[in-house]
């Protein structure tokens, strides 16, 4: 059995997804203010870390890392989290990824919810 990350196409899939996903986030009024004023190239690199993780790819982030990475985002709540997952799904759809795999990606993202929202 190949992993979710392999089924999605690995690093190449992350590369292919990053522009589409980041563009969606910047255009999404619900969450774009969290990404304002951050250096865009640094941010694009972090988006790749995010996608690699959500695609079930190699990473060593712990729940604590996720909590710390998002701790400075004032007022971050479930609505914002849902918006990110929604954008992620839309990106994967654009790339022609099957619905079952999109659901698997959403499930991976879901495992980080409490950490990202600082509830752990």
């Amino acid at each position: 059995m190949s992993s979710l990350y392999e089924k999605l196409g690995g690093e190449a899939a992350v590369d292919a997804a990053v522009d589409n996903f980041y563009r969606r986030v910047l255009k999404d009024d619900r969450i774009c203010h969290y990404f304002d004023g951050i250096d865009m190239e640094r941010q694009a690199a972090k988006q790749k870390s995010f996608l690699t993780m959500a695609f079930g790819g190699p990473n060593n982030y712990t729940a604590r890392d996720m909590k710390e990475a998002h701790a400075h985002l004032d007022g971050l709540n479930d609505t914002h989290f849902d918006a990110v997952v929604e954008n992620l799904g839309a990106t994967l759809k654009d790339m022609g990824v099957a619905d079952e795999l999109i659901a698997e990606v959403a499930a991976v993202a879901e495992t980080t919810r409490d950490a990202v929202l600082g509830r752990v």
Binding site: V14, V18, D19, Y22, R23, L26, K27, M40, E41, R42, A44, A45, K46, K48, S49, T52, M53, G57, P58, N59, N60, Y61, D65
Partner: protein, 322 residues
Amino acid sequence: MPTVEFEGNLIEAEDGETVLSALLRHGVDVGHGCQAGACQSCLLRAPAAAPPTAQKGLDDTVAEAGGFLACMAKAKDVPSATRFDPDYFPTYAADLVEKRALSATVLLVRLAVPELPRCPGRFVQLTGPTGVRRPYSVATSALDANGLVDFHVRLIPGGEMSEALLQAMPGDKFSIQGPYGKCCYRPGEPCAQILLIGSGTGLAPLYAVATDALSQGHTGRIEVFFGASSPEGLYFLDELRCLAASYPNLAVTVCVDAGPLEGQSLGSPLQHALQAIPDMADTTVYSCGHPALVKAAQRQCFLAGASMKRIFVDAFEPAGRA
């Protein structure tokens, strides 16, 4: 067992272990993040032995200086490494050859820097005879046998480097460190559309990128959008006109915020670029000059479809704030 010499200590690694893992295991405090080659937090330097597989996605200058991502490098490939310190870039002697007014406020500064690698459009740190040090972008694409390099410097009244340049005489000794940055023409896609958006002396690197592209046989469209707040802030217009006349694939739109003269458009160069090219999916974008313009161009061009990997910018941040 492989070993990595890090800042004078010999770090023993397991077979197949990454440099990062070995360092962390030995309690060496180096920055790290995703440990998957994406976030670039664990950048280190190995001048002679940076493994190319651990350099993916790094800035050209960083890779050239031996930068590599510790999480992507096997310890057996890296006998020694240090932290990445930007001061490692080479310094070159530079003699002032000529200075000449391009307009009432812009000075052409020509230096002989025989050792400098060819780097049209990228920027260097220029140190003057008085010791003042500021970044400037290379305006020339040709580097002849004498290594003549041109810079366009907007004179800031009372500015330290501005004053030093006004005082300077041919023969004066400067030095140059670098080059830095990513604003350079990349051969390989000769038919792609290139969009150059700049204000003020941001024209210098854009002119270098355009002439470099043309001299390397670029056949795709090259669209230049150049602006200033008023017509007095513009310069180099004859040279741009000449270039457009010689190369049918190059077009120039000159913009001002107020009081346009004949042949000039009202508005910002970014606004005109977005109108002319609403879909930038296959466009390579360069933007240099005023920080507000450059940051807006980076964002708007990305939203208009340009790939993040194909947007190259240098914001001319004043010293002390960048």
